[in-house]
Symmetry: C2
Subunit: 429 residues, 2 copies
Amino acid sequence: MSFDRGASRPADQTTVRRANLGVVLRHVASAGPCSRAQTAAETGLTRGTVSSLVSELVALELVRETGETTSPRGTGRPGAALELADVVVGVGLEVNVDYVAVSVEDLRGAVRYERRSYRDNRSSASSTVLDRLGRAARSALDASLREGLRPIGVSVAVAGLVEEASGTVVNAPNLGWVDLPVADELEARIGVPVHIENEANLAALAEHWAGAAVGIDDFVCVFGEVGVGGGIVLGGRLFRGFHGFGGELGHVLVAAEGCECACGSRGCLETFAGVESIARAAGVSAVEGRLRSLTDELVRRAEDGAPRVLGALDDAGRWLGIGLASAFNLLDVRAIVLGGCFGPLAPWLVDGVRETLEARSLAARSGSFVVLPSAFGDVAAVRGAAALSLHRVLDEPWTLGVPNGPPRPLLAPTARAKRRGKEVAIGRH
Amino acid sequence: MSFDRGASRPADQTTVRRANLGVVLRHVASAGPCSRAQTAAETGLTRGTVSSLVSELVALELVRETGETTSPRGTGRPGAALELADVVVGVGLEVNVDYVAVSVEDLRGAVRYERRSYRDNRSSASSTVLDRLGRAARSALDASLREGLRPIGVSVAVAGLVEEASGTVVNAPNLGWVDLPVADELEARIGVPVHIENEANLAALAEHWAGAAVGIDDFVCVFGEVGVGGGIVLGGRLFRGFHGFGGELGHVLVAAEGCECACGSRGCLETFAGVESIARAAGVSAVEGRLRSLTDELVRRAEDGAPRVLGALDDAGRWLGIGLASAFNLLDVRAIVLGGCFGPLAPWLVDGVRETLEARSLAARSGSFVVLPSAFGDVAAVRGAAALSLHRVLDEPWTLGVPNGPPRPLLAPTARAKRRGKEVAIGRH
């Protein structure tokens, strides 16, 4: 019998303090404004422990006192109200077939800066596209620093297979990128560490944290654009698979003898339900080459009741249902979120998805599930990218600095930037 | 932004002691025989803590002293060697289309009792089949108690959708069971609590703990018999899905317009790759109606090089590859284990599975994977059922009793058995 199962490190006082630092931070995040006494009463920690942990969180600029006092709710005398601070921000980037986007979000969930610029990235060299991304990141970082914000991480959403550890885009068929070291290339351009992630994964996280799937810990986000991406959240955590290549819902088989797919297989869901495929079937074409205009036009004509458009959308919903039925039989989730272009198109897709799922999946029929339109549509990926580093801090606040010491400059210049003697305006002014 | 993420209970000294009790137990399990001093050195816990935790584990009858001493390996004077005890056992049952099986396993992984009796369960009333299961369980429990063993749990493997919490088989198409309260029915027959689980899930656990997938924490076990089951292990843990209906690999679509499946859909993997489908395509029929004889006969004729049999097996491997490609695109696992009847047939299936997976899955092609024949074949499910309660104890040893107190009688008579005033010979003699 093998007993090799991971949890073999002993626990000690540091484990306890770190766990409780997270407990207090998440309590303030979900229940704030709240006093130290309320936090103690509601978490079960002693007041002394809470006070010490709050001091640490204030020093890390994660929590602040509002200046007001809270009502005691039976916990003794009123205390200073605590809430999340709005100084720490995350920076999200997104590169897609026809645009580059950037978003800066603070710990309270407010968007502090957001831009999207349309360019044809499919027919541009990868270095040109990376230059565009780098300029967008630089502008967002500069604007944040001017406002006195403290960026703690830059994440990039890419439509494709991503190797997170090395920061490499292994294969992004719709951009034509193969084994491209995107994190290194961007670091070289902006001088700070960059993290890359699959866009549908980030869209799923955004929907989970603040969108359609708040409170739903097990769901699949199907993210439509030229391709069809999938983000899987299981037990409240993003599921990435062993190499990080999981969640590729667009390449689940829906017709064994279907037409060839950019991935090298045939009959993949994406060949039936990508926005260009739907538009072709509906007889709709793009304005100025912008893909978003395809979605807008499909919505407009569907609202007008155009039979060919309604037929194409119904078919797309049924193909989505077939692909999702296989996913459902394996994953048994509670919800499907229709994201990206499927968000605005959801009113015409939902019935086909639901009926096909019920007909095709014993698991779906035996359990219960909901089909939800995305709250963020096609900004979900960049919002998820912005929030990613913030959520890492909420999970493990101690990574932000030494207990009760000064906050570390988190977006420190990389070794490479330092070697170049480049002036990098990141950190606090 | 939503911050509702589970880990909101504070940690305390009990958390630490429980975690460390598990650390010591798993160290003895993986490194034993070993002394207290070695355990301290290798886990990073103090000797005093280890001694106290070992006393608790000895009182719980999970660890014992071998009577020998271990070599010091630079950790000071020699000490009494510790190893897992062999008193605590788990009881596993399996009900299948044409047999009922039972297995009793101890904490050291030794099988202490095992029986299988062939009966046609498909054309028997469910109450008759439950009587058969109950008699098998009773005989195994009595034999265990005669040997002075201490049974701590009874688990039943069923081919179908199982609702673990209520102990109900929601749908077992090949047995014709719908919404059958199997746990309650068996409890009423044997007088002790019963836990039910999907058979392919248990087969996957058996392969992970002691079979083909030891050391592999992310894999899919595809379990062939009349139907095709799937057990998914992710991050070293069984993945069951939200309602517990996940892992139904047999109902992943491989041909949208394929023939009808018992699940109500069409074109499911199981309609192409179940053992009866393969045998039909190969022109092989069963001896005395036993399904196992189909596998034996397929192996015999494949070894003889019979072209029709080789063709049928190659086709089955390719259908498995198509179904697994969809699973791979979603789950990105490291390995496929070919279990149940696919174990002995693996030599003729592996190439088709591998080639199809590489052609059909970008994730499989971009990462790396292995296709492994099962170590346990068709006894995997009952072995996994026997080991299930043992592994729960290895994860959470404190559930076995109060610290340093006497071990609780774990298979206590259920309330219902007590109400009936039945004499239930469970516990220690």
